[in-house]
């Protein structure tokens, strides 16, 4: 019997996901199988009951989408002369090598996630550590080295790290890795802010599982129109030397707009839903109390032994045992007695007053530090600009073409959560005190800085 070299699995988003023996070796590895027990959206299933999907299928989806994007943007008839030098010869060994590395990196990009994904990361690892650094450790681990060693061509683990993390995280973690133009584009294919396969898959998948239809968009059309093209000119001396980027054909602009709209709505409706953010605070409180020394281990072996399953069991046990570490937070999660909103960022909390919600949360601690929590989404701005290839082959800024993109608002959600029984009292107090709290916080910031020598 001929051994099977090509495999496929059914998938809720992509119908089928295809992979080869080498990729199967990664999929079968312990770090990847662990993702079967890491919820994609942390405790969001307490708000959206269907959101119980895992990082495992998302990572398979990212590999599938990244591979499709790679195949489209490197097809010889889709490559213009302006960028031909950057892209390895189609079908050549270098082209095949990077296609393989790209798909491996897509598979591995989430292996460093802690239990409950992003929900508990920031305060639960030692300083200087985050899930991307753990991802790097896993890609460099002996276990994965054995997998890389068995492959032909053998992927360099630093190449996998570069594409799995991308330049943003390489900068943050000070890894000292540099990206040439080709590698920068490959990293964009996986983790790019605009057309990254990670983003495309999580929007579609999270939309499907939450039942929030806003996250759907025509990704088939979008992928077919993606191209590697020179960046659009930024004025001044024009575009002659502008680095190539991932952009789209003019005919794909509407599907790119739909992607950006999906991103906007999903962030507002799902990822930073206030109840999810409140549960996130309770989860952090529980883990801080339950974990030895209040932080997750950073040793790769210990990391692999921690999944949502152990944490959920611990939450259930702690909720039923008064006096157990993290009992109060566990009880709130299990009994659905999460904190409630006492204040959310107001339309005039902008400019210097952008510190308002944080300052109010700090001041409200006079009710008791254990009765108040502050939650915030990243302070994200309007959609990123990307190049669009016009029919004459020139690159044009997406923002100069799309009124939809220029009018899409920046989103930033901030909340002060309080213990449910004191919500009304806290709201009245905040209404009375808001102006003076903000004025005082502003004065303190200015004084602190102005007295710095």
């Amino acid at each position: 019997m001929v051994p099977k070299r090509h495999h496929e699995v059914r998938d809720a988003v992509h119908v089928f996901i295809h992979f080869e023996d080498a990729e199967r070796a990664v999929i079968d590895s312990r770090p990847f199988q662990r993702l079967r027990e890491i919820h994609q959206l942390a405790l969001s299933y307490l708000v959206y009951p269907g959101a119980s999907h895992k990082r495992f299928e998302h990572s398979l989806g990212v590999m599938e989408v990244a591979g499709r994007i790679f195949d489209v943007v490197t097809r010889p008839d889709k490559v213009s002369d302006a960028v031909r030098d950057v892209i390895p010869e189609h079908g050549g060994s270098e082209h095949q090598y990077w296609r393989s590395v790209l798909r491996m990196a897509a598979l591995c990009h989430d292996t460093g996630h802690l239990p409950f994904s992003h929900g508990a990361e920031d305060e639960l690892l030692p300083a200087g550590w985050d899930h991307e650094r753990l991802t790097r450790e896993i890609i460099h681990s002996d276990e994965m080295a054995a997998v890389w060693e068995s492959m032909r061509p053998k992927p360099e683990s630093d190449d996998v790290v570069k594409l799995a993390l991308g330049p943003r995280k390489v900068e943050k973690l000070k890894l000292g890795l540099s990206f040439d133009a080709w590698q920068a584009i490959l990293a964009e294919i996986i983790v790019g802010d605009v057309f990254g396969a990670d983003r495309i898959d999580y929007l579609l998948r999270d939309s499907l599982h939450t039942g929030v239809a806003y996250g759907r968009f025509d990704f088939h059309r979008l992928i077919e129109t993606l191209r590697i093209i020179p960046g659009a000119p930024e004025g001044g001396d024009g575009s002659a030397d502008v680095d190539p980027q991932l952009g789209c054909e003019r005919g794909g602009l509407e599907s790119a707009e739909a992607l950006m709209l999906a991103r906007y709505f999903m962030f507002a409706q799902v990822y930073y839903h206030p109840t999810r953010m409140a549960y996130n605070e309770h989860l952090k409180d529980f883990l801080s109390a339950w974990l030895p020394d209040g932080v997750f281990p950073i040793d790769a072996e210990d990391h692999l032994s921690r999944t949502d399953s152990e944490v959920l069991t611990a939450i259930r046990d702690a909720a039923g045992e008064a006096g157990a570490p993290g009992h109060e937070a566990a009880r709130r999660i299990v009994n659905r007695e999460h904190f409630r909103i006492a204040y959310n960022r107001q339309p005039d909390d902008v400019g210097a007053r952008s510190l308002a919600t944080g300052a109010i949360a700090a001041a409200a601690e006079h009710f008791g530090a254990d009765k108040v929590r502050y939650g915030a989404s990243p302070r994200r701005g309007d959609p990123p600009d990307f190049p669009v290839r016009e029919r004459d082959g020139s690159s044009v800024s997406s923002l100069s073409l799309s009124e939809v993109l220029t009018r899409l608002p920046a989103s930033h959600d901030e909340y002060v959560f309080v213990e449910p029984s004191m919500r009304e009292q806290a709201k009245r107090w905040i209404t009375d005190q808001r102006g003076s709290i903000i004025d005082q916080a502003l004065a303190e910031q200015a004084h602190e800085e102005e007295t710095t020598t």
């Binding site: 943050k172 920068a184 960046g231 994200r380 701005g381 920046a410």
Partner: protein, 182 residues
């Protein structure tokens, strides 16, 4: 610098560049911030890597995004094919005034950046900032030719002649920076 003070300095830079006729897009702010940090020690809390058009900071990109969300800056959309300019809002100017002493401390460096970089295009800024990057990256005392060669290696589209000019101009800037009090 605390967050608001850092934002005030970025506002001050964007305003000066704009007043000097700079296109003042993101790349202009990226390169000017890098040069101010490296040449004058303006204490921005950003790391840079060699990426788009030379030294680039994703932390600064996030900060600019956040400042737009907070209505301190806004994008001014341009006619095709050009990317947007970044302009300072009235709220941004108010923030600058609120941090008068901080702005005073860095005024000379910011004025220098506006005067020296305000009329430069993206290509020029890429060459200059990358020249500074390789100068910092190589052992001290390396010749103009060595550094130009290193620049050419990391940015192959910059010719040796152009790289040499950039390194020479950077050396002038390094001398100028020493005479500017921060």
């Amino acid at each position: 610098m605390n967050r608001l003070a850092q934002e005030a300095v970025i506002v001050g830079l964007a305003r000066r560049l704009h007043d000097r006729g700079s296109w003042s897009g993101e790349t202009h702010l990226q390169k000017a911030t890098y040069l101010l940090h490296e040449l004058f020690g303006v204490p921005f809390d950003f790391d840079f890597i060699l990426y788009k058009h030379g030294p680039f900071s994703f932390q600064l990109r996030d900060e600019l995004d956040s400042m737009r969300a907070d209505r301190l800056l806004e994008r001014e959309v341009q006619a095709p094919p050009y990317g947007p300019r970044i302009v300072v809002t009235e709220r941004g100017k108010e923030l600058e005034q609120r941090f008068g002493r901080t702005m005073g401390r860095h005024a000379e460096a910011l004025d220098w950046a506006a005067a020296r970089l305000g009329d430069r295009g993206v290509t020029d800024l890429e060459r200059l900032a990358t020249a500074l990057w390789v100068t910092r990256d190589l052992p001290k005392g390396r010749s103009v030719q060595d550094r130009a060669a290193a620049l050419h290696v990391v940015k192959p589209h910059v010719s040796m002649a152009s790289a040499t000019d950039a390194v020479r101009e950077l050396d002038e800037m390094l001398v100028e920076a020493e005479s500017v009090a921060v």
